[in-house]
Homo-oligomer: 300 residues x 2
Amino acid sequence: MREQFVSYIKNLQDQITAKLEAIDGKATFKEDLWQREEGGGGRTRVIENGNVIEKGGVNISEVHGPLAPAMQQYFKVGDVDFFACGLSLVIHPKNPYAPTVHANWRYFELYDKSGAIVDSWFGGGQDLTPYYLFEQDARHFHKTCKAACDIHNPLFYPKYKVRCDAYFYNPHREEARGVGGLFFDYCKKTPQMQIKDWYNFVTQIGDSFLDAYLPIVEKRKELPYTKAQKDWQEIRRGRYVEFNLVHDKGTLFGLKTNGRIESILMSLPPRVQWRYDHQPDPGSEEEKLINVLKNPIDWV
Amino acid sequence: MREQFVSYIKNLQDQITAKLEAIDGKATFKEDLWQREEGGGGRTRVIENGNVIEKGGVNISEVHGPLAPAMQQYFKVGDVDFFACGLSLVIHPKNPYAPTVHANWRYFELYDKSGAIVDSWFGGGQDLTPYYLFEQDARHFHKTCKAACDIHNPLFYPKYKVRCDAYFYNPHREEARGVGGLFFDYCKKTPQMQIKDWYNFVTQIGDSFLDAYLPIVEKRKELPYTKAQKDWQEIRRGRYVEFNLVHDKGTLFGLKTNGRIESILMSLPPRVQWRYDHQPDPGSEEEKLINVLKNPIDWV
């Protein structure tokens, strides 16, 4: 399973970066190969200052070794070894009408000190963060997620959609980070789902990503926009930073367990503004977005 | 003591905002009075888009009520009532040669359910975050801090200077937030220092703030700078955000205990950039700053 999923995410990284470069038409991904002292490493690919993509990263990593004490506590396990691999991506388009997207698909194994597997699971998801709300875009993204889920189990989409809304939430702002998508974790062997079935499910979601996101970018990437709309995008990107640095478990664990900082923080937007007590005008498009972020919608 | 310190911070807020408006010459502070549901409130004053100050806040608050469970855990006390008041300020100048400054002076009391005081202490400090290093500015700031400390105890400056370096540190970047200053907390009654003596000490530091900071701003506010230098300031302000949102205890407790969000997050810089793996040129002024942040200096 390790080799199979590593091979999958390597191929998927190639596919996604190739398609994103094609849609951008100007910038290309810069690749950094890195090694982790305690075992494993990664292939970070970052794109900046494109025609379409202002900043984005599509990273894979494959790390292993003794599980750090902070992670032992978190997983409620003892002194075990681990293997983890996954693909993480965040794309921040230039055009404020084109939404930011985040996705992650990952696989974990835990071993006792004799090297026998004691646990394994998949996790991941994908979610959309618009700056202006096009309901058809949110519906398209969610429908694509649902279609991929439904192939495996009709209960998955409603379950993982709700978890996504709950997870990508800024309690201190009382609003969601975006319009959601899917979020699942600890997808372990059950009587109904072997680990191989979870592999099939997670790779189905991974395969759906470009269909879920690219048509939205195609539609929005050349819409004309004003300086004020770009400012709004940068202000909203401040909320993205607040979520990632205050609440996101992956980011915080990465920072606290000696992860590769530049690969973890590639998720942070290129330009951000914080203005004191900024409020959108009543009845504006900006306010319309906030209302949806405060009250998650059933998009399909 | 409560009344005395509240009255002190009210006056100090007036003094500081008046002097900052005078040095800015264009923008004025916007005042927001707010109330806290559970008891108390505050007077937030924020300035934006000035000639000299790009964004800044000088806030006082005076809050009381039952101590939140998260704070009970943090202070290692049971179900007690509390009173807390303080002045917090952060000033982000426009000119990248003028440093950001942060200061905070605060007083806490804890009470048992009969209303009797069971504990009380002062805390606070002030620290400087330059984007370009002028050694004379760092020395001036530290000398002013030391002179205020020395009036009370010659051991205070070395002790609180080292604590400041330790506290305002981004471990994930292996660098200090800035060139430091003073940081002290839990300044409680001892055989040598009555609570009144701590009041005298903390107000001495508060009184030294304008002398420590304003002459630096005066010297740097009109130096010509390039777009690249402004970009560097915005990139470094990303590190300021990383510290405040990932590590700063005051910010995190505020966000998690239903504080007034806009008053807490006034500390965030107006404009920030994150570029992937940005490294200053070898031998540049930018690299000179980083070297000092990685190896704190004894400035006096």
